[in-house]
Symmetry: C2
Subunit: 293 residues, 2 copies
Amino acid sequence: MYLIDGKAVAAQMKKEISEEVLDIKKAGGKIPHLAAVLVGHDGGSETYVANKVQTCEEVGFKSSLIRYEEDVTEEELLACVDSLNKDADIDGFIVQLPLPNHISEQKIIEAIDYRKDVDGFHPINVGRMSIGLPCFVSATPAGILELLKRYEIATKGKHCVVLGRSNIVGKPLAMLMMQKAYPGDCTVTVCHSRSENLKEMCCHADILIVALGVPEFLKADMVKDGAVVIDVGTTRMPSSTTKSGYKLTGDVKFDEVSPKCSYITPVPGGVGPMTILSLMRNTLLAGKKSIFG
Amino acid sequence: MYLIDGKAVAAQMKKEISEEVLDIKKAGGKIPHLAAVLVGHDGGSETYVANKVQTCEEVGFKSSLIRYEEDVTEEELLACVDSLNKDADIDGFIVQLPLPNHISEQKIIEAIDYRKDVDGFHPINVGRMSIGLPCFVSATPAGILELLKRYEIATKGKHCVVLGRSNIVGKPLAMLMMQKAYPGDCTVTVCHSRSENLKEMCCHADILIVALGVPEFLKADMVKDGAVVIDVGTTRMPSSTTKSGYKLTGDVKFDEVSPKCSYITPVPGGVGPMTILSLMRNTLLAGKKSIFG
């Protein structure tokens, strides 16, 4: 069994991106610039955005943080999106989700210029991904594909089972894994809460991607010998043994599943660390105008 | 075994749309107006477009046919798309594919205003469908969903296997059948030419949608007893017994598969007749501004 070390791959990606930024600087090119919009003071969102801003600094990007209080109106936020769309120095930006209930997340997402939509949530990017056209791929699916690629895991013709059909993980992963590409070219099955035959499907999987958000859902008897298991779950469970008082728990019962696997991602340290680096790479691509010219 | 009679359902839909157009006329509303752009003189394209125009007349729509010779430039075609986008009387339009090699189909499709894209090929419509937002769904997938609905076929939790991953049939069907909706809520598997375990997958399917374009590909030993089989194949095979000299042949070996099925679509007379009616319904929705306001 090989452990897929997302932390090490993310560190390697950080190094590669930093080097490319240095090259751009040396050549007198434009430094990629990411803006993040943060509404309110949700603890999780604060942490995510702070990490994104910090990683920008570490790789040498410019970054801007735009903050609004919880009571910002939809109109104000749309005006902010509009000004970021028009700001020639901003290559890409994100609006950290979730947003307060009085604001339509979908409306905000659709207002973002798709050429700056480094989160890959705009319908144009989602549609282009499905069709197989160049686009911004959202961070978690992109990170998982990068792990498969860096560990040279065979995918062509294999059966990939995705547990979960969310718009930001399950569905895009399914679309990506069925494309005529590497990683990809898989037979793809998507299971979810309504699936009658979920366990049977899991037992058939060569590659199992678990994104249900149910801690330790996947047990040893649901996994074929030699399967590749990718754990996207990150539920905060109370813990008395950590300083923070919680422990990140994956969707896979790691201790009993891992001995059966050829490759498996741990939680933490698997898929998680890849997410921010995928966003950084999208920002680099945006800065270089590699996707939409 | 029940035969799914696409011809009868299409006739019923035609009646329903005609009645709605009459109601619109009575109320003094705007008559839906579909335009079709046809390049060159390909026999298949000529027939398809002629059928679309004729069906428009039968349901009471306005229709316009715009013809170009094979040597039209991409710029001329883009200018035509632009003028149709701007023409307030045109509610929806299609550019009949395929186009000559010197014209980028993707460029033409992306130039169409997505609010008039009644073929549902624009990335925005594809992306919105994946996310589960209101959109124009392309004709063949929409027609298949309509058949499942009219025959009240149970889909929730069932295993739907889609053979084929084309952008206009396989991929959109997979996205639709996994949505939290009826028809939908299925465990969905997409198989294709690279799938190692295609036959095994087929044998597990409650609903089998075959869109490979390989005549009589699906044999009896690939189908579970009681399965629902939807045959999207329409290959023209030479025939000495028909006036036209050819016979439409499906992807399913009908004679041996049908006795095992709970429901099955024939070829011809199954999925085929639904396609134009799905386009008509999209045009009606465009005329009523039901989707994009």
